[in-house]
């Protein structure tokens, strides 16, 4: 048998079925089974066949190819492939051809049993007899364009209610109207301790302190509660708490994902989100900054940092990938987050085909895709104010030194003029070579850019060798130029791939051969290497010293603040090169230094200029200045030229040293991943069946027709898209935003499917309330804290969460809101609560991720060497949200309580309740340490006797005093443990102290041990980890 690709086999498998069908048809004596004889009744004869065989894909649920066979009008009109029924002409009707297997590659139904000849005969007879279809046998089809979520919300009137005195704000009217219609009563208000704990957990993710509870309980002023809301909204922890919800959707993580899962620095984006909530950045700006902060007029550093939102997608650095595949997968993922975070649409359904349920086409998907397809992906330096000041002061000092130099020598104008003349004369003529083949020894793949440079992508191995061949018709080549080019897509802008953008070229060698088949190649000996800059200890001459070790080579790391610039080296050929009829040049770039010191972007040129050749010491920019008449140069331009000049003037050596000393003080700062729009947008094609290798029609950026149009004449870029998102006519964005806020309070959105407002999503339980909130949100200027206040202050939110069996039976999911929310808190908060109760929590806001202790063996579950996980002293006490988020191996105690992994947007967490959670809160050293610290705290500060201490301990965990039965249970446990630890000092030390060698001093450890057993129980209470 000849060689077949699997695809061919697959088609073969498919054809065999089709062929079988045709065979059956032929067996019936003609191409098609004959029409049935006798009068056909649609409802009796035809509809059952359609229902059984067609409705699954073309029925009420799915409308494949925009066709339905349960609706007369749509069926007879046809779907996106045109009419399927031609009344009177069954053999020409597409439906008959499809069910009979006469259409190549397609047969209906595509799976399961085929229609029998008899059934086809019935369909034929029905069509031949005129395709009569009584209206009574047609399902009413609702046009999905009229779906509730696709019409912009209109502020509904606040309904009237009977029990007005229960209401506190408009939310309550909507809730109560619903309850009254169902003949239900709201629950009474929760007691004050419960209320404050609920509010504190919802607004800050932290339990209230005992002082805060006491203050609130004893505050009899009418606005006591409102004051608490304001206090908590003003807390810096408010921003943390709400940022964390957003970071779930934004799929924030501190590593790149996939096999390598290397660390990334994007925490400044996380801190930006925290800060945005704290300063109550209006949600429309919050949206625009994250989608297009780099494109707003005169963007600030913060606005650029915000674009990290889209950069949160994963990055595959596995060896041997096709980088373009994973670049596209990254954009596909960004489309998903656009849909889930803002639009409430399952856009990703349209990657391969038109949406099966919602009116969004595949073409429209790729039109949105086109907005996101045009970016470079740089790292941005994020200096804080002190680093900014330090840098400014260095720049100032250097400018001062330069000013001094410039005024010090009377002959400077003449000297510089001469220098400029030299420089102009030095500019050589270089022919950029067009790389023909290019590959790296391992892993790395190259993208060839328009300027014939090569950009290294994908895997970044520690060492590498690049081989590039290029054909040229030049003869008499006297030398080669290697340009190492800075690029936004490289670490720190390159030009190398090490963390700070450096490389070491261990050896550069060239071979040449005539451009004829099987020609012998000859090495081209090189000499006289020069560079515009060589790192001390890494001179360019070392690149042609014939020594291929990790020791010698050309490096370009300059003083901090002067790095990451394009550099060049020039190598002379000892003997001129170039064959009649063309030459194939082969360049080998050995880079054996290690630590990813490899070239990131480079290109190679050749020249036929007479030797000696020298690398141009001037940058391209400086050359442009040089070309200007002197009188036209600005001060800054003059200074830039002087920068190069002063290095050549021997009299300035001392001053140059001083300048370098200043420069070496340049402070390093954190970096973060951002977007930067490319000058030239990439073309975007529809991917046929979602396959990036099968480019279909070219599309222009655009938005789905179901949503409002883009403003006329607006540039088709991300900024326009971002502003369009928060256009008040956009029907879903405000609804999605307020619905998600609602979800965090009540454990469930007004529309439960917070990420899907399409026709398959759950409809809102109280549509008028959702619309009212959405309108209120927009009219308030997208004021997030305003919505928080409204919800937090509503009577609906303040209800007790106690549930009675009849209510539970009637409304198990609390959709009617006849009671308050009772929800287990999120993973991070469980830990924060334990640390708070133990008095251990470090409340520092923001900063780089932290590395609290992680059990042995967890990090090695992922591929490759475990990442360094160095626990600093305070790391274990920071809020859990700062724990380094490693996608391939999530932090165990967070994952077990359903924290997302950052691999995909998580608009709502699905809470679970498992034995592994129980083991975590019982035995995880972090929780044990919290119990120990809490025991010490209770013993020392809890009161004068055990009874008082019990109250104190119980309140630390639940915010309330224990009931008598609870006191009895706990007292009995405490007595048992007291008895047990008496005379068991060694055991007591073990139990009571996190470090048995350094137990707490001056305290009765037997007592603390007994209390540790009690506090451990308290920290494990259902109530402790639940918002009641």
């Amino acid at each position: 048998m000849p060689f077949l690709t699997p695809r061919a086999v697959r088609i073969g498998k498919f054809f065999s079925r089709a062929a079988f069908a045709v065979l059956c048809a032929t067996a019936a004596g003609a191409d098609l089974p004959p029409p049935a004889t006798g009068a056909i009744d649609f409802a009796r004869d035809v509809q059952p066949i359609l229902a059984r065989n067609c409705y699954d894909c073309h029925g009420a649920h799915k409308h494949e190819s925009q066709l339905r066979w349960d609706n007369k009008q749509i069926a007879l009109q046809g779907g996106e492939h045109g009419p399927d029924v031609i009344p009177g002409k069954s053999s020409e009707s597409r439906v008959i051809q499809l069910v009979a297997g006469q259409v190549p590659d397609l047969v209906m139904p595509p799976k399961g049993d085929r229609l029998t000849a008899q059934q086809i005969g019935i369909l034929r007879a029905w069509i031949d007899q005129g395709a009569a279809w009584p209206e009574s046998a047609s399902v009413k089809a609702v046009d999905p364009r009229h779906h509730w979520a696709f019409t912009a919300p209109v502020r509904p009137p606040v309904p009237s209610v009977k029990t007005k005195k229960w209401t506190r704000n408009p939310i309550d009217y909507f809730v109560l109207a619903r309850l009254e219609a169902q003949k239900l009563q709201p629950s009474p208000e929760a007691d004050r301790p419960t209320l404050l704990r609920r509010l504190s957990l919802d607004l800050t993710g932290l339990p209230p302190t005992l002082e805060e509870i006491n203050a609130f309980v004893s505050d009899r002023s009418p606005d006591a509660y409102a004051k608490e809301v304001e206090r908590l909204l003003a807390s810096p922890h408010y921003g943390e708490c709400w940022a964390r919800h957003w970071l779930d959707v934004a799929r924030y993580a501190d590593s790149n994902g996939y096999e390598k899962d290397l660390s990334r620095s994007i925490w400044p984006y996380r801190d930006w989100v925290i800060d945005a909530y704290n300063r109550n950045l209006p949600f429309d700006q919050f949206t625009v900054d994250q989608l297009a902060g780099d494109l707003v007029p005169n963007p600030t550093l913060e606005e650029k940092v915000a674009t990290g939102f889209l950069r949160n997608s994963m990055l595959n650095e596995e060896g041997g990938i096709d980088p373009e595949q994973f670049r596209n997968e990254g954009i596909i993922e960004r489309m998903d987050v656009l849909g889930k975070a803002f639009l409430g649409l399952t856009l990703n359904c349209c990657q391969c085909h038109n949406h099966k349920y919602d009116p969004i086409s595949q073409k429209e998907y790729y039109q949105l895709f086109a907005f996101l397809n045009n970016d470079d992906e740089p790292e941005l330096e994020v200096p804080d104010t002190s680093a900014q000041a330090k840098r400014a002061s260095i720049e100032q000092k250097i400018a001062g030194l330069e000013d001094q130099l410039m005024s010090q020598y009377d002959d400077l104008p003449q000297k510089m003029e001469a220098w400029e003349k030299d420089m102009k004369a030095m500019e050589g003529t270089w022919i950029v070579l067009d790389p023909d083949t290019y590959y790296a020894s391992v892993g790395t793949k190259f993208a060839k850019l328009d300027d014939n440079s090569l950009l290294a992508t994908a895997s970044s191995p520690p060492v590498s060798g690049y081989t590039v061949t290029a054909k040229t018709s030049l003869k008499g080549i006297t030398g080669f130029r290697l340009e190492a080019l800075a690029d936004p897509n490289l670490p720190a802008y390159g030009p190398g791939r090490s963390a700070n953008g450096n490389f070491v070229l261990s050896e550069f060698s060239v071979e040449a051969a005539p451009d004829v088949p099987n020609a012998a190649t000859n090495p081209v000996p090189l000499q006289n290497a020069t560079a515009d800059f060589s790192q001390p200890g890494f001179p360019v001459a070392a690149a042609i010293d014939g020594i291929i070790t990790n020791k010698t080579g050309w490096g370009v790391e300059d003083l901090p603040g002067r790095r990451n610039r394009s550099r060049q080296a020039v190598f002379e050929a000892k003997d001129a090169v170039g064959f009649e009829g063309g030459t194939v040049l082969k360049f080998m770039l050995n880079q054996s230094y290690g630590g990813e010191h490899t070239l990131g972007r480079f290109r190679i040129s050749a020249t036929t200029a007479p030797r000696p050749l020298r690398a141009d010491p001037l940058t391209r920019h400086a050359r442009e200045i040089l070309a200007l008449p002197r009188a036209q140069r600005t001060l800054a331009q003059q200074r830039e030229l002087f920068d190069s000049y002063r290095l050549t003037d021997a009299r300035m050596e001392e001053a140059n040293k001083k300048i370098d000393e200043e420069q070496s003080q340049w402070p390093g700062v954190p970096k973060t991943l951002v977007l930067a729009a490319r000058d030239q947008p990439r073309p975007t094609h529809i991917f046929i069946r979602g396959d990036w290798q099968k480019a279909g029609a070219l599309v222009k950026p655009g938005v789905p027709s179901i949503l409002p149009p883009l403003p006329k004449d607006a540039p088709l870029n991300r900024l326009t898209l971002a502003r369009w998102m928060v256009d008040k006519r956009n029907p879903t964005v405000a609804r999605v935003a307020v619905n998600r806020i609602w979800q965090e309070y009540f454990g469930r959105g007004l529309a439960a499917t917070v990420e899907d407002f399409g026709t398959q999503g759950d409809p809102p339980t109280n549509p008028a309330l959702l619309d009212w909130l959405a309108c209120e949100f927009m009219d308030s200027g997208w004021d997030v804290k305003h919505i928080q206040r409204l919800i937090a202050e509503s009577a609906a939110y303040r209800q007790s969460s106690v549930v009675t069996p009849p209510i539970l039976e009637r409304d198990p999911y609390n959709q009617l809101l006849a009671r308050g929310p009772r929800v287990r808190v999120d993973a991070e908060i469980i830990r924060d609560i334990a640390l708070s109760a133990g008095g251990l929590l470090d409340g520092k806001v923001g900063g780089p991720p932290v590395y609290p202790p992680i059990p042995d063996g967890v990090l090695s579950l992922g591929y490759g060497a475990p990442m360094p996980w160095e626990t600093k002293s305070r790391d274990r006490y920071r809020r859990a949200m700062y724990t380094f988020v490693k996608r391939s191996v999530p932090y165990p105690s967070l994952q077990v309580f359903d924290a997302p992994t950052g691999e995909t947007p998580c608009p709502r967490r699905i809470p679970s309740d498992t034995p592994l959670q129980a083991l975590t809160t019982l035995n995880d050293p972090v929780f044990v340490e919290a119990a120990q610290a809490m025991a010490l705290r209770v013993w020392e500060h809890g009161g004068k006797d055990d009874r008082a201490r019990l109250d104190y301990a119980f309140e630390l965990c639940t915010g309330r005093k224990p009931q008598p039965k609870e006191v009895a249970t706990l007292s009995s446990l405490l007595h048992e443990e007291d008895d047990f630890f008496e005379n068991r000092t060694a055991r007591a030390v073990q139990v009571a102290s996190p470090d048995a060698k350094n137990p707490p001093q001056d305290v009765k450890l037997e007592k603390v041990a007994a209390w540790t057993m009690v506090t451990r129980v308290l920290l494990n209470l259902d109530e402790t980890i639940t918002k009641e």
Partner: protein, 483 residues
Amino acid sequence: MNLLNQAEHFLNERRNFVTRRYFFRQCGVGLGALALASLLKGNDASAATPVDPLAPHAPQFPARAKRIIYLFQAGGPSQLDLFNHCPGLAKYDGQPVPKEIVKDQRYAFIKPDAALFASRFKFARHGQCGAELSEALPHLAGVVDDIAIINSMNTPAFNHAPAQIFMNTGSTVFGRPSMGAWVSYGLGSESRNLPSFVVLSSAGGTSGGSGNWGAGFLPTVYQGVPFRRSGDPILYLTNPPGVTPAMQRRSLDALQQLNQERLGVVGDPEIATRINAFEMAFRMQSSAPELMDIKTESKETLDMYGAVPGESSFANNCLLARRLVERGVRFVQLFHEAWDHHSNVTGGVKNECARTDKPCAALIKDLKQRGLLEDTLVIWGGEFGRTPMVETNKEAGRSEGRDHHPQAFSMWLAGGGIKPGLTLGKTDELGFNIVEDPVPVHDLHATILRLLGFDHTKLIYHFQGRDFRLTDVEGDVVPGLLA
């Protein structure tokens, strides 16, 4: 709202088994609410039985397999040196592969015109069935009549992480439930004191990471629990220093009393679920160490597997897998990430066979002698295969290796309703493409679910606007594999 999410997912789950529309029409809100209603009969809320998402339930059809042991050979074992005997490869050894075969297939590392590379292993026929195996698998040869070899697997993914995720979740996109999670969701667990889905690993960490055994959008309760190689098999299994089991029990008694008390006051059935979870955790604290203690096995058994108490090895894991399924664990998955032989494939295959061949064969024999093979499905395979072409790269220090090959590779299955002694599928004489009975990954998944008693198109979970399933929108049962 009440923390009814587990109940809600239970409802979702039951609703999904039969068609969703049916339940909406017939049962109003669905079974979850019915269960809730019944548990709240009377006012004694403390007597409430929580809804347990891991309660065992029957599949849609009578099942041939009740549990699965999946021996995942991560990295991509060389089918050409183990199962797929390609004499043509020997004929063309060292010659460039014809262009009309390679077409536009992309490769991870090698260039498409690399030379063909014949296996250095001898192949022979074994057993009654006469299946061909390479000499690298002498032990498997002894049980070859009990297994079914597929030489015609194919997958669309050719990089490790996406391919592992695809093999385990049916999608190259992260975030979908793994097979073990689907099975736990579909069948629940027979064990009341061990997790439903246990993951054991030997050799390196996996490229797909925890996504390989994740629950995706299913509730976390269904995700695989990785057992650790040393120390506690399950994280946080051991009590804190100084706390004995008796003390732990005292603590739990007080805790449960307090939780019961609260249940009586606030009436939230979720508290009952948590009470149960703590009890199961306590049982796990004694059952898991007992499970891990293989010293209690006979010397014959230990020798048969090549297992050594106290070691961490693939052999020990195979023995543990048997002990786990004996104790009612539904899905055991072993990860052995060691087969990525870009260089010296012959030596590499020899090494890994030395570590895995004997224990694999022992597992089959052991399950069989205990009557467990009948309804335990054993699966062996990696995420893709390796090229018929050689991978050589002086600069990278690679020679005589093989690159990733997704178009045709081999797996084997045993027990649980699989036709024993079968060799399914053929490739061309170079082992490059499949020419007979291709088995795409979705078809394998459909078949596995069929053996467990599911129509793969009906084991679904509604999430974010659509019904999801392990087989995505594809998959056909491979009838030839069924006994």
